[in-house]
Structure formats: C-alpha cells, structure tokens
C-alpha cells in the first residue's frame, strides 16, 4: 500500500512540475501576452484562402474540361470569373505584403494588436 502511495505521490509531483514548467523556465518574462493576429492578418488570411480556392478551382476546371466532364461552353462561361477572382485575390495580397514589409522596416512588431 505504501509503495502505491509513494508512486502516486511521485506521479503527482511529476505532473505539477510539468504543469509549472512554463513558469519555472521563465520566472519573469519580458513578455507574457499571447499576441492576437490583427485585422490585417485576418484579412490577409481570408485573401490567401480565397486565392487558393480560386487557383484550385481553375486547376480543377482545366482538368475536368480535359476529361470531358465540362463542356466547351461551360468552360468558357466559368473560366473568366474564376480567373478574375484569382487575379483580384492576388492583387489584393500584393499591397498587403508591401505594407507588412514597410511595417517591419519601420520597426513595428508584426501582429501588434489593434490599439497597441
């Protein structure tokens, strides 16, 4: 019985040490805040997802057209809007990338929460 309790106590100590590890490793950190992605990051992610969706759809459309699943008429009707969507997403991403670059050049930390 005593062996079991000792083992149980050892297990509890190991668990506590593991849980306390982040505090033990950094007793007084310079920064202890989880930085939330800002609005710019969220918008960028939305655009990247939109770009990827449009590019994947274009690729799939090409493939379906080649395999005969999409007729020539459907292909012509669908390819234009898809290309436009992909181009718009790509265009929208470019200035954002520049803005990010400028921001980092100016020394503003990436992902600084709004209002900070």
């Amino acid at each position: 019985m005593s062996v079991a309790l000792v083992l149980g106590a050892v297990l509890a100590v190991v668990a506590v040490l593991l849980v306390a590890r982040p505090f033990l490793r950094e007793p007084s950190p310079v920064e202890d805040t989880l930085v939330e992605p800002d609005e710019l990051d969220r918008r960028r992610l939305e655009l990247v997802e939109e770009r990827d969706r449009a590019l994947a759809a274009l690729k799939e459309l090409e493939f379906d057209h080649r395999t005969g699943k999409v007729s020539d008429d459907d292909y012509r009707a669908l390819v234009g809007p898809l290309r436009r969507r992909a181009a718009e997403a790509l265009r929208a991403l470019e200035p954002r990338a520049e803005a990010r670059h400028e921001r980092s050049e100016a020394g503003t930390p990436e992902g600084t929460p709004k209002g900070q």
Partner: protein, 666 residues
C-alpha cells in the same frame, strides 16, 4: 496497487480540471505561460491516465480478484488475451479506455498544432471540459479500482465475448468515438476564438478521417464477430448497440463530404459546425447507450450510476455547441451561393441530406422504445422492417448519388456534358439490370436496385480513373501506369475517396446478395445420424456428435458432410460450448466459404439432444457475403491513401498559415 490506480485517476482529474480552468483563463486573458501550462496539463494527464490503465492491465493479467472489476469480468481459467480484453469488457474499464484515448489524442493534437497557438489556446479548455467529465465519472461515480475481499474465482466473461474479434472491435470503436472529439474541440475552439477561417478544418482533416476509418473498421469487425460468434446467421441486427456506432459514422460521413464544399467554395460553414457537433454528440450518445444499461430497460438505466450523468453531460454539450454556433452566426455567413442544382456541390448537399435523414431515422428508432417506456410505461420495440424501409428509402439513392457526384462538375454542368459523362455508367447499369432480371434476380426489388446502382457507381469510378489517367498521360507524357500512380499521388483525397466508394459498392453488393437472395432452411424436425437435408442445391448429411474439452469450455460438435451435385465438398462441425464458470452455453457455428459464389454455407446447431443424438440443423446459404469483408480491406486502403500526407500540400498550407502563426507566437 488499486491505490495507485485511484491516485493516478485523481491526478488526471486535477490536471484536466486545470486544463479546463487555466486554459479558459489563459485564452480569455491572453496569458502565454498560463496557456502553455494548461497544454502541459493535458500532456501530464495522458501520462497519469496511462499509469491508471497499466495498473488495471496488470491486475487483469494477474487475476487480482481484490479488484472488484477483475473479479466481475474474468476468471482463473480465462485465457490471458481475453482477460486483458476485459479492460473494455465492462463499464468502468471502457470509461477508462475512453479517457486514455482522449488524453492521448488531446496531447497529440495539441502538440502537432502547437504553432497555431491562437487557435489551440481555445481548443485546450474544450478538450479539458470533455476529459473532466470522464475523469470525474471514473474518480467519483464508476471506478475500476474498487476493492473487495477476493473471491476464490472470478465470475468470468460472457461467453460470446470470448472471441479474438473482441480484442480489436471495441478498441477500434473507441478510437473512432473518441477521435471525433478532436474535430469538435477545434471547431468549438475556432468559434470561441472567432477564427472561423479554414484552419480548424486543415488542422483536423486527418483526425476526422482517422476517427471515421476506425469507426467504420470497428463496425465491420463487430459485424464479423456477430456473424461468426453470436450464431444467428446474420451480421447486423439493427441492435441499439450497433446503431450507436453507425449514427456518428453517418454524421461524420456527411461532415467529410460537406467540409469539402467549405474548402472548395467557402460555403456551408454553419452546416459543417452543426455536423461536427452532431457527430461528437452522437459518439457520446453511443457510449451512453452501450454503457448505461438503457438498452436493456429504462429501469436498469435509472439504477445505473452512469445514465443521469451522461444525459446531463450530453445536454450541456448540446447547449454549449448550439449557443456557440448561434453566437458566431455572423462570422459563419457564406459569401458564395449555390450556382446550380446540377453541380458537384449540389450532389454533395443531397448526399448530406440523405445521410443526416438516415442518421436521424435510426436515432428515432433507438429513442422511440426508450421514450415510450419512460413516458407511458409501455414496452415497444422498433424492429428490422422499420430500419430496412429507411435503409431502402435513403440508402439506395445515396448509393446512386455516390456514382453521380464524381461525374458532375463543380459549379454547374450542362445537359450535353452530363450526357457524355453519364453514357457509360448508364449503359453499365441498364445492361446489369436487364441481365439480372433475365437471370431471375427480379424477385427482390431492393436487391435488384442495389446491384444496378452498384454497377452504375462502379462504372463511374472506373471511368474517373481511366479519364484521369488518360489526361495525365496527355499532359505529362507519362506511361499509363506511371500516369495512374501520379494521378492518385497528386490527388490523394479524391482518388482515395473513390477507392472508399468502391468499398461501399462491394459492401452494398455483399449486403444485397446475402440478405435479399439468401436461402434459409430450418426444418421443424431434427436429423438423426445418417439423415440429410437440402438447401439451395447443397446437401447436408449428419454423421454424428463428438465432445471434447477446451481451455475453459466443454465443446459438443456435430459432424455434417456437405455435398453439391453429388460431390463431397467439405465437412462442417457446428456445435455448442458450455462454459461452467459463466454457466452459459454458446452456439458455435461452422461455415464453408464457397469461392464460386463468394458466399458462405453457414450451419448452426440450433438444438442438440445429447441423449438421442438428434440435431436440429439450421442452414443459411448466403451468396456474395464475403464481399462485405473484402470491402473492409478496400475501405482501409482507400482511407489510408486519402489521409496519407502530401508534402506539396503541407508546404502550401504551412506557407498559408505561417504569418498568422508567427503573429500568435511571441
């Protein structure tokens, strides 16, 4: 050692409560070290649960009957493998298995997604919440570490559970049930954090697929166990315990399809949240059904310590999910709309409606007897015709849609393109249907439809592979075999999915053949030595009885010579086992696998009179039944291809989410 088990479970309880509370505080206040500490609590919880599980396993292996659980589920004569399988044979042990898998999955999922800190920070408290419930049950309601004065021998194990399938079937189901917690936790984490982009889907894609595969394989193993062990001649009886696993699998199947529409078109965000929550809640409900005793009687449910707690937790998690989805509705609105009712996404939508309808009708079939007993005190049952009717109404169109979907293009499809792509599958279906009618298979309309639709789906799958390979050959100039390999390699989810569809076709053919076209012979009179009976062109001659002693049972076996067209094909030995410790008798069926019909000749010794030696023999001839088990292998093969990591896609996704992850790190 029971003290160590109890202590380990208490440590787990403390850790998961900490993961819940500290995780929620950290997410709310954005405190980095506290968030890391909550994550570490999940890792530590897995370790301590592992210790508790090891204690129980050692007790089972040593037949330590001071553990009440070990005494209730094993005996000295029980072989070691079965004694260890008692881990999940009882209520307390299976709850411990739930917690062990959950903490293991939670630790792994959090560690793999540690870079997505702004998402994971909200996932940790959700995982902590679910784990807190199970740890609480194990510590304070239903502990496997209760000790009592050791009896001379244990009560043993239910005879039907003493089967090799029981070593794999329940753990597979639990890997599936519990696996559905991970996509649920990430979905709720995404809602809590307000990050409703696709990251939670990307993070949990393989988790969902793996859980769904485990659930599917677990059900097939269970079906095969029922087939060879229970001794009634079937593999699925629409039993509530079987339905308990089918329902979350159907909901997860719907989710796996609809989530593709969100990825491809950015649509159905609300629907996907509902499905992922439904699949998780049904997995909880499935555990409740199998473990609360409610299936036997509403009265045994009220006496069970588990029932009320489980229902309460399911109610809380339902309210939690609904409230979160409602709260985040503005973020989940889709910017795109369905362009045409004749498009791939529309067929996915129809598939989803049918899957959910089938799932809900099964749920109603399970709930109805419980509700009538609880509310009116009447004992009602929902039997096979109810389920068969809805399986035909929803299942057959689903089968057909499986063939139609891949042939239709995304966004919209013109009639001309449809005519071109549908021609071969339609021809295959018509030729199959006509040939089957000519061969006399028109006796069962559902069977005929299942075969015809299966021909349509099989042709569409072959066509997809053929057209894709030809296109790849034309684009890249590769040889056809190489083009096929690179086609599948570059589109693993799509072509892995088609292989899974092929498995479903095999399953449908196997089910239709073995149920709609089976022959059952059960003569009212018994056979004496030397007498024979006929079934579907087979002759069975009874030669006599033998008895022998097995490790933990007294076995009686009949010897039955089987002939076809006057030629001896095989000798079968159906019989019964008597388990003296458990005071139970089991039917031991004997099966001949017929390569000609890919079916079985299945014999059951319904009754044996040991004095007169009279045998009441039941014979079932089940054509094509072995396709069901072949389907299992194809299903696993397709699933593995679909979830096999794709380095190119991994790089693309890493690049997509890297800036957000970098921002979230400090």
């Amino acid at each position: 050692m029971a003290d160590l088990g109890r202590a380990a479970l208490l440590v787990t309880f403390g850790l998961v409560v900490y993961a819940l509370v500290a995780g929620a505080l950290a997410a709310r206040s954005r405190r980095r070290r506290l968030a890391l500490s909550a994550q570490n609590a999940l890792f530590a919880a897995f370790l301590s649960t592992l210790v508790a599980a090891a204690v129980l396993l050692v007790a089972l292996a040593r037949r330590d009957f001071t553990f009440a659980y070990v005494a209730a589920h094993t005996s000295r004569s029980l072989p070691l493998g079965y004694a260890l399988s008692a881990f999940w044979g009882g209520q307390e042990g299976s709850l411990l298995l739930w917690l062990l898998i959950l903490t293991g999955y939670a630790a792994l999922a959090v560690w793999l997604n540690r870079r997505n800190r702004d998402l994971v920070v909200w996932v940790v408290p959700v995982l902590g919440l679910v784990a807190t419930f199970f740890a609480f049950m194990l510590c304070f309601v239903s502990s496997p570490f209760v000790v009592a004065p050791a009896p001379g021998d244990g009560a043993g194990m239910v005879a039907s559970l003493q089967n090799p399938y029981m070593l794999a079937h329940p753990p597979m189901l639990y890997l599936g049930y519990v696996g559905l917690t991970i996509p649920f936790a990430f979905a709720m984490g995404a809602l809590l954090s307000g990050r409703t982009d696709e990251r939670w889907i990307v993070a949990t894609r393989r988790w969902t697929l793996a859980a769904w595969t485990f659930l599917g394989v677990g059900q097939l193993l269970g079906a095969h166990w029922a087939y060879v062990e229970i001794g009634w001649g079937g593999y699925y009886a629409w039993d509530p315990v079987e339905n308990a696993a089918l329902m979350p699998w159907l909901a997860a199947t719907a989710f796996l399809h609809s989530v593709m529409i969100q990825e491809k078109r950015g649509m159905l965000k609300v629907w996907n949240m509902i499905l992922v929550a439904l699949a998780f809640l049904l997995s909880l409900f499935g555990t409740f059904l199998t473990r609360s005793g409610v299936v036997n009687s509403i009265h045994s449910f009220s006496q069970s310590p588990l029932g009320g707690w489980f229902l309460g937790f399911i109610a809380i998690m339902t309210a939690f999910s609904v409230a979160l989805i409602y709260w985040r509705l503005p973020l989940l609105r889709s910017k795109t709309k369905l362009e045409s009712l004749v498009s791939r996404e529309a067929t996915f939508l129809y598939n989803n409606l049918l899957l959910v309808a089938l799932c809900l009708t099964i749920l109603w079939g399970v709930m109805y007897p419980l509700l009538t007993e609880a509310l009116r005190g009447e004992t009602r049952s929902v039997s096979k015709p109810y389920y068969d009717f809805f399986l035909h109404v929803f299942g057959l169109p689903l089968l057909l849609l499986m063939g139609i979907g891949p042939l239709v293009a995304w966004r919209r499809a013109s009639l001309r393109a449809l005519g071109k792509t549908f021609l071969v599958p339609l021809l295959a279906a018509v030729v199959t249907g006509v040939a089957l009618i000519a061969l006399g298979f028109g006796s069962s309309t559902p069977g005929l439809l299942a075969y015809t639709f299966s021909a349509f789906v099989a042709a569409s799958i072959v066509l997809e592979f053929q057209r894709g390979t030809s296109a790849r050959h034309a684009i890249a100039g590769e040889s056809y075999p190489r083009a096929l390999v690179s086609l599948v390699g570059r589109n693993r989810r799509r072509y892995g999915g088609y292989i899974v569809h092929a498995a479903i076709v095999l399953l449908a053919i196997g089910i239709a053949g073995s149920s709609a076209y089976q022959t059952v012979r059960e003569p009212a009179h018994g056979l004496r030595k030397g007498q024979s009976m006929e079934a579907a062109g087979w002759t069975f001659v009874y030669r006599g009885l033998t008895t022998h002693q097995e490790a933990d049972a007294q076995a009686t076996r009949a010897t039955v010579d089987v002939y076809r067209g006057g030629s001896h094909v095989t000798t079968l030995h159906p019989g019964k086992n008597w388990y003296p410790v458990e005071q139970q008798t089991s039917n031991e069926v004997s099966i001949y696998h017929d390569p000609r019909s890919i079916g079985d000749v299945f014999t059951i010794a319904d009754q044996i009179d040991p004095k007169s030696g009279v045998l009441f023999l039941k014979v079932l001839v089940k054509p094509l039944v072995n396709l069901i088990w072949v389907a299992g292998f194809v299903f696993v093969f397709g699933s593995v291809i679909a979830m096999w990591p794709d380095a190119v896609e991994q790089r693309r996704l890493a690049e997509r989410y890297a800036p957000a992850a970098a921002s979230a790190r400090t």
